[in-house]
């Protein structure tokens, strides 16, 4: 950012949802919600599975005919919840099954997983568990990864590869691959000077994710810091998330701001625009209020990230825990591709925002 000129675009509130449960909405599944905009309705209330706070939740991607949700809780268990779609007009035909796990849920087949959550300040778990769904509701532990030196705050699967990223209280991001039937750490990213609260891969378009068919004997990979997003947050950043459609990044955190960043060609490099190759990206954020993007096969000198919109106090005076992008579905949508930003805060509210201008 050059000066203090206001960002060119506006974040405008579209709707506030009432989730009707206690304050502190920590997490939102990063998936397209069933409704959008002013017609947002709370569909179902899932309760009774966990004994303590639920810290994270994620949809199983790429399913048809059923919806599967994975949850991770302070009670040191992860749950798998299923909703079967019944076509024969059976309204409200909702069946919820809960798997009873002592570690994390998810795995290769299901591509959603949780790290085991912390229980007490003294006995804290630092491991990442990978589970595989063998058949319906039968999960097997594939790996327990124990390299982290602090609790694991977030995990993310690569969109097209068997590559897992985990972010931790130990200020690092670790990348994991399966090597000869064993999962091992293939990279350690240590650019942050505070807890890394979020990690997420950039979406991969099409089937270009074939970078490593030929393997050397080592699974070590070199990941380099590609860029640092303009500093916009004064306190810890809790989420930075890529729009799969537009490539914009939204971030939020303890200072209550939501900031939108865009990658654009540097003006003096626009001529060679087509030369850039973009393969892998990975966004992270930390307690020191900086956002790093790291890539492993990208010419970074041609582009720069700029802030295109920001709003202070998105949830009033409260911290904002999470933002995600979702397809806009209400009548007011301006195109079939338009996205909204959904945010959750310590005020217990879920807010929907449009990006105008």
């Amino acid at each position: 950012m050059s000066t203090n000129a206001p960002p060119p675009r506006d974040l405008t509130p579209l709707a506030t949802l009432d989730p009707q449960h206690k304050p502190h909405v920590d997490d939102l599944p990063t998936s397209t919600p069933p409704h959008g905009g002013d017609r947002l309705l709370r569909q179902n209330l899932v309760s009774g599975g966990h004994k303590r706070s639920i810290r994270s939740v994620a949809w199983k991607p790429g399913t048809r005919g059923e919806s599967v949700l994975a949850t991770g809780s302070f009670d040191a268990s992860a749950g798998i919840w299923r909703k079967y779609e019944r076509n024969a007009g059976a309204e409200g035909g909702v069946v919820l099954d809960e798997g009873d796990f002592t570690g994390g849920g998810g795995g290769e087949g299901m591509r959603g997983m949780q790290s085991q959550m912390t229980t007490t300040p003294s006995a804290r778990d630092k491991s990442v568990w990978i589970w595989e769904e063998l058949e319906d509701d039968n999960f097997e532990t594939v790996a327990v990864l124990q390299e982290h030196e602090g609790d694991v705050k977030c995990v993310a699967w690569h969109p097209s590869e068997e590559l897992l990223a985990s972010a931790s209280y130990d200020d690092t991001v670790r990348l994991w691959r399966e090597d000869l039937d064993d999962w091992g750490q293939c990279a350690l990213l240590s650019g942050h000077r505070g807890t890394v609260w979020w990690v997420e891969f950039e979406g991969v378009e099409g089937p270009n994710g074939v970078p490593s068919i030929l393997r050397t004997s080592s699974i070590e990979e070199d990941w380099v810091e590609e860029t640092r997003l303009p500093k916009a947050h004064g306190r810890a950043i809790y989420t930075a998330t890529w729009s799969k459609k537009t490539g914009l990044i939204a971030s939020t955190g303890s200072d209550g701001k939501i900031v939108i960043y865009q990658e654009r060609w540097k003006s003096d490099a626009s001529a060679s625009a087509s030369a850039a190759s973009e393969v892998n990206g990975d966004a992270m954020d930390t307690s020191d209020g900086t956002l790093l993007a790291e890539g492993n096969q990208k010419d970074s000198s041609l582009t720069e990230w700029v802030i295109i919109a920001e709003i202070e106090g998105a949830h009033g005076v409260f911290e904002v825990n999470h933002v995600c992008w979702a397809r806009r579905c209400d009548k007011g949508k301006r195109s079939s591709e338009e996205e909204v930003i959904v945010s959750t805060g310590d005020d217990g509210e879920v807010k929907v925002w449009t990006l105008d201008g």
């Binding site: 502190h24 303590r52 706070s53 810290r55 302070f74 959550m117 912390t118 229980t119 007490t120 300040p121 804290r124 609790d151 705050k153 209280y169 505070g194 807890t195 004064g234 306190r235 810890a236 303890s254 200072d255 209550g256 701001k257 307690s287 202070e312 106090g313 009033g316 005076v317 409260f318 911290e319 310590d346 005020d347």
Partner: protein, 197 residues
């Protein structure tokens, strides 16, 4: 029992020596924690503070004007917390001290958020209860202050052997939330906070 304590013989301050508004008549205590020794050398630019700092009396209580909260008020909230191993207050043990409380206004005119930074001084450098004391201070302030305040509790630099680790722990929202769901720890905190008001 005495032998198990980390610090069996802490230094205790007299109640009358603790900072309070009532003691203003005696030695003038400055909010910024200075000694006031050089006050007489500094010209008194009273016009800088007078017209704007005075809230328009009590008539505006029904509008949404932000109520001012100063360091003394923060001190009053946390100095009465009991030490987890002594039947004494954090104020009288000089674990919390007025000069180590800092209120930072919003970082920009559009931001609604202020920050309270409290630096605590453990009674001895290896006090294992520093985290619990810090947690008690954070919980007390988060329960009593309006939500526009972000509460940062840190160990005063150089007063504790593992201060950075404790600071990081106290600043971690998730760890604090998990701690507050821990029954044993909550019991300790309840006892510490039972002497507040």
């Amino acid at each position: 029992m005495e032998a198990n304590k980390d610090n069996a013989n802490p230094t205790i301050l007299n109640q009358s020596d603790l900072p309070s508004r009532r003691s203003d008549s005696g030695v003038k205590k400055r909010d910024d924690g200075g000694t006031g020794l050089f006050d007489s050398l500094v010209p008194a630019y009273t016009y800088l503070t007078d017209p704007f700092d005075q809230p328009a009396s009590s008539s505006d209580t029904d509008d949404d004007s932000v109520e001012e909260i100063d360091e003394q008020e923060i001190y009053d909230l946390i100095s009465t917390i009991s030490d987890p191993e002594h039947p004494l207050s954090l104020g009288s043990l000089a674990v919390v001290n007025l000069p180590d409380i800092h209120i930072q206004p919003p970082s920009s005119p559009r931001s609604p958020i202020s920050t309270v930074l409290v630096e605590i001084t453990p009674t001895i450098t290896h006090c294992s209860l520093a985290t619990v004391i810090g947690l008690g201070v954070r919980v007390r302030l988060e329960q009593s202050l309006p939500p526009r305040f972000r509460v940062d509790v840190r160990i005063k630099q150089g007063t504790h052997s593992t201060d950075e680790a404790v600071n990081k722990q106290l600043g971690d929202k998730e760890r604090v939330a998990a701690a507050l769901e821990n029954g044993t720890l909550m019991g300790v905190l309840k006892k510490m906070l039972s002497t507040c008001e």
